[in-house]
Amino acid sequence: MDAIIDLLQQNALMPRSDMARLLNMSTEEVEAAIAKLEADDIILGYKPVINREKWGTEKVTAVIEVKITPERDGGFDRVASRIAKFEEVQGCYLMSGGYDLLIIVEAANLRAAAAFVAERLSTIDAVQATATHFRLKTYKENGTFHHFDVSSERLSVTP
């Protein structure tokens, strides 16, 4: 199972017949294993890794540190799920350290992101404070490099 997950993490679109050859399995076995990972909610989805600079989109991404007051019943979970449900929120993590939630927000533009923080996030009762950081450039995302600078000068035949 781990080997299949590793391969999917490298390239979720790899043909299942190739995966079968790599893992000494049959294509049917690979398909069944992936179906099971999906059915068991171990694999929740597949997303492309996008180079936003080339895409030329106006969208902005902000990383927001959020301090919240936990509740007597449910701790951080209820507030976290309330925040996570906003469409703009792409990621939401409970963190150790100086703040509680780290959320990743994608908005149509800077103004929309600011409005989300000011009008949606900060107005939640349990939210004590926020610190918003905007992404300027992506170098590596989900294990994929965005700016390749690799040269290979291997000889074509060596002993």
């Binding site: 391969l7 190739d18 790599l22 000494n24 000889l155 074509s156 035949v157 060596t158 002993p159």
Partner: protein, 388 residues
């Protein structure tokens, strides 16, 4: 004027690989399965450690035997992974790749006319190294149907009163053969009986598959005192260009090898030695990751070659497959040349690795999977067209 070249050098043939390389170099868009080095760059943490060492100005000569700190790392690494201990101060020499260590050991051991037995098909440098050290090279041909392992009986048949050294290389380039402990014990018994020194090139020892462990002949009782264990960083750590190898052997032999090394090389480059410390101390995870990747590619290439109707045993180690191509009706050389010209895929003809290589070609899977995939599609077309 023509410069007279020494007779013993004139007599050494050029490497068959070199000829082939020159043809490949003259063509464009070739996918090469002919490369005997990892396609991975050296893991970043190792490169980063080397950069740090350079920043601190570590750019000088080192002790002839190599940095003491590196020799301690080698000693610990060999003890952990091979189960045998060598004394860092007197029993380990850091060389410029395993190739130099082989040369040093042969020159330190051989008198003119002494014989050295090695198994073929094998790495291209063994026979010339023996000859250049004044020895006589005696090949024992290993057989495909026996997994290219060396049998004690075959070894014993090749021994003469002049035989001094046995050279071993398991896992083997180009066949991927590996030896089980029982077979190694029989070889060891023959070596003890005939008082042979063993040079064992174990450069591929980390790259064994299906979870099978590597066994070194040096660990067999009675062998440590007559064995030179040769290893290096090139293959498992993807560090070919750093040129760091090492020899572990009894102190008196290391001392003799050091004399030659000291006057010819002085020391291995310090940049490589600093990188090697990081690799040996903290590189295990990187090696494991690369091994997993090689194993998957091995599975892929073996199953693809079998689908083409080629007889291709799954190699137990290293990163080469050595399929039999006689069913195509072509010689190794014709197969390789036609595949290169008609489909632009480079493989190395088996006879480049000596006797027993005819009828085979070597395909390296130290090549990115997307390249291997294209190569396999083209090779399958080639084989289909040959049958048509």
């Amino acid at each position: 004027m023509s410069i007279a070249i020494a007779e013993h050098i004139k007599g050494i043939p050029r490497s068959g690989i070199r000829d082939f390389f020159e043809i490949v170099q003259s063509m464009s868009d070739v996918i090469s399965l002919g490369i005997g080095e990892p396609d991975f760059a050296t893991p970043w943490h190792i490169r980063e450690a080397a950069i740090y060492a350079l920043e601190r100005g570590r750019t000088g000569y080192t002790s002839n035997l190599g940095l003491p700190r590196l020799r301690r790392s080698i000693s610990d690494y060999i003890q952990k992974h091979f189960g045998i201990r060598y004394e860092p101060l007197s029993e380990i020499l850091v060389s410029v790749g395993v190739s130099e260590a082989i040369d040093l050991a042969l020159r330190a051991l051989l008198n003119q006319g002494d014989e050295v037995i090695y198994h073929e098909p094998c790495y291209v440098s063994y026979a010339p190294s023996i000859v250049m050290a004044g020895g006589v090279a005696r090949a024992v041909t290993t057989r495909a149907d026996e997994g290219f392992i060396l049998h004690a009986e075959e070894l014993e048949k090749a021994i003469t009163p002049r035989t001094r050294v046995l050279m071993l290389n398991f896992p083997t380039n180009p066949t991927g053969a590996a030896m089980d402990p029982e077979e190694l014990e029989k070889i060891a018994a023959v070596c003890v009986k005939h008082d042979l020194v063993v040079l064992t090139d174990e450069i591929y020892s980390e790259l064994t598959y299906e979870g099978r462990p590597h066994h070194s002949i040096a660990t067999i009782p009675g062998m440590r005192e007559r064995t030179v264990l040769l290893h290096g960083l090139s293959k498992a750590f993807a560090m070919t260009g750093w040129r760091i190898g090492f020899a572990c052997a009894p102190a008196e032999l290391i001392e003799a090898m050091m004399k030659i090394h000291q006057y010819s090389i002085l020391c291995a480059p310090i940049m490589g030695q600093d990188a090697a410390i990081e690799a040996l101390d903290r590189g295990e995870q990187s090696v494991n990751g690369m091994r997993r990747e090689y194993e998957m590619r091995r599975n892929f290439i073996v199953s693809s070659l079998r689908d083409m109707g080629l007889d291709c045993p799954s190699p137990r180690g290293a990163f080469y497959v050595f399929p039999k191509i006689t069913s195509t009706g072509l010689s190794s050389r014709d197969f390789s040349l036609r595949l290169l010209h008609e489909k632009k895929v480079a493989v190395v003809p088996g006879p480049a690795f000596g006797s027993g290589g005819e009828g085979h070609v070597r395909c390296s899977f130290a090549t990115a999977l997307d390249q291997i995939k294209i190569a396999m599609v083209r090779m399958a077309e080639f084989c289909r067209e040959l049958k048509a």
